[in-house]
């Protein structure tokens, strides 16, 4: 790998990233929510704003999961160090999935608990989406230094690998909502599976080559 050529691009990003405070992730990723609701309310998302909002929040959740999953491979293969943002990104992914679910419960289903309860059990795509959401709860709850200390770094890290199946389930959920095989949801799944594959395959044979600064 031509490390020196790569570092020409990566080093400035790394030094810039060092100066960017992590709270900026929370601020920047909070802004789309009021904006999207405003758009929906004022007709900017078409005549069926609830579905559009639901989908938008779901997609941003998946995008954040993808960004979170990309951080380790980016460091390993590109030397790009964005590790300090990962917690904020994960927490925001959870925040978006809560909004996504909230839209479904309140705006889409209008609190029809009976129908929602039946759907959660009867409709595989909702079952899968709900499973992914439930899986994210313990990760969100333990996304703080106290939990890392309490659990111990090793078991904390092991627990947070739960995000791998969660991301896959999220993408499958997105694919299954569609009536036909749509390109976009398939792309999400492909990217997620790709990022997971990057973790496994090369790490075994290339373990000796890595560990450079």
């Amino acid at each position: 790998m031509p490390m020196s050529a790569l570092s020409k691009f990566v080093d400035p990003i790394n030094s810039f990233a060092r100066k960017v405070p992590t709270w900026l992730v929370y601020i920047l990723y909070s802004l789309p929510i009021p904006y999207l609701f405003w758009l929906a309310q004022t007709g900017g998302m078409g005549v069926e704003p609830i579905n559009a909002l639901e989908r938008e929040m779901g997609e941003i959740t998946l995008q954040l999961l993808i960004i979170g999953l990309a951080i380790t491979p980016a460091r390993k293969y590109l030397g790009l160090n964005l590790l300090k943002f990962r917690r904020a990104i994960g927490v925001m992914a959870f925040f978006y999935v809560v909004v996504h679910l909230g839209i479904w419960v309140l705006l889409d289903m209008n609190l029809r608990w009976g129908q929602m309860w039946a759907d959660i059990w009867k409709r595989p795509y909702i079952t899968i989406g709900m499973a992914a959401f439930l899986g994210m709860i313990p990760l969100a709850v333990t996304s703080n230094n106290w939990s890392v200390r309490k659990l111990g770094a090793a078991s904390w890290r092991k627990m947070h690998k739960l995000v791998y199946p969660i991301a896959v389930l999220g993408a499958v959920h997105f694919i299954m909502v569609q009536k036909v095989w749509e390109v976009e949801p398939l792309l999400y799944l492909t990217v997620i599976l790709g990022l997971l594959a990057l973790r496994y395959k090369p790490s075994q044979k290339a373990s000796g080559v890595s560990a450079n600064g």
């Binding site: 929906a40 309310q41 078409g46 005549v47 069926e48 704003p49 609830i50 579905n51 705006l107 889409d108 289903m109 209008n110 029809r112 129908q115 039946a118 759907d119 009867k122 409709r123 595989p124 795509y125 299954m176 569609q178 009536k179 036909v180 749509e182």
Partner: protein, 299 residues
């Protein structure tokens, strides 16, 4: 002929679109609603408020132009609908290929304010202009032994990006049993709000079967075939488990992937847009067509 089915409003009630929007008192006009009794009749008689032209023409499924809801309004503009030819063939006495003007000539044009319920669990109310399919079929002369009617949508790859990408198998085909086709509720629509159909709404002529899920109401028709066997239908071919030949609106029979018990009303805004789905979409007078049939089996 025609005028076999009546809205409770008359032609004098037909008003320009801006005024439509303010009218809250147009009744669904279910003369036969009493037959259903109870909840159904109450719900069926509640006021129907038509959706706006903008709502009706910007939220569409028309896969020939793409799978997104706004793809049809974005992409359908290049379809040329004049001249347009429709072939009527199969078991009819007077088969032939007709221009739209020839086809419509002599038909009784009416306003029909219908609920439109998509299989995806959303709904609109559309003020169609059209004529009863029965009149067209009678003029064509239905031959003895005919049992079904098949329909086909135009395939125009040059102006249909969805066709070029082959998102599903084209031409889009649909079908009805003959008694469904000649039911007075079944119309061939050529307009909405007294304007010609927008391309994305299925210009220049489409089927409207208000008690069935929207995909049965095939758009931009180029061929009508009277036949003696149940014709293949597009969504049934794509996924027979999810989309049956009949596809009557039925809140008791769910789509395998979602409930059909309720739907969201387009234009309902962000709050309180969900309402209960009615049996046969609130048109109980068609129930007699399916007497003795297991509608769970024949979904």
């Amino acid at each position: 002929m025609a005028h076999r089915w009546k809205n409770t409003f008359t032609h004098a009630d037909v008003t320009p679109e801006p005024l439509w929007l303010n009218r809250r008192a147009i009744l669904a006009g279910m003369a036969g609603a009493g037959a259903l009794g109870g909840v159904g009749s109450v719900a069926a008689q509640e006021a129907l408020e038509p959706n706006t032209w903008e709502q009706i023409t910007t939220y569409n499924n028309f896969y020939e132009f793409g799978t997104g809801k706004s793809d049809p309004s974005d992409n359908a503009g290049d379809m040329v609908t004049d001249p347009w030819e429709i072939t009527i063939d199969g078991m009819v006495d007077n088969p032939g290929t007709f221009s739209l003007a020839e086809l419509v000539d002599g038909m009784t044009m009416e306003e029909r304010l219908y609920r439109f319920r998509c299989v995806e669990a959303w709904a609109m109310v559309v003020p169609w202009n059209g004529f009863e399919l029965a009149d067209l079929l009678n003029r064509a002369g239905i031959q003895d032994g005919a049992t079904h009617v098949a329909f086909e949508t135009a395939v125009l790859p040059d102006v249909m990006p969805g066709v070029r990408r082959n998102v599903i198998e084209f031409p889009y085909v649909e079908g009805l049993r003959l008694d469904e086709a000649v039911h007075p509720l079944t119309i061939m629509a050529t307009g909405i709000y007294d304007r010609p159909l927008a391309n994305q709404s299925g210009a220049p002529i489409r089927l409207v079967v208000p008690w069935k899920y929207g995909f049965k109401s095939i758009k931009s028709i180029v061929k009508i075939t009277v036949t003696n066997e149940q014709p293949p239908t597009t969504w049934n071919k794509i996924n027979a488990r999810e989309y049956g030949f009949y596809s009557n609106v039925n809140p008791q029979v769910d789509h395998p992937r979602w409930s059909q018990a309720s739907h969201r009303v387009i234009g309902g805004g962000l709050f309180n847009s969900r309402e209960d789905t009615l049996m046969f979409n609130g048109y109980p007078e068609v129930a007699s067509l399916y007497e003795g049939m297991d509608l769970r089996e024949n979904y």
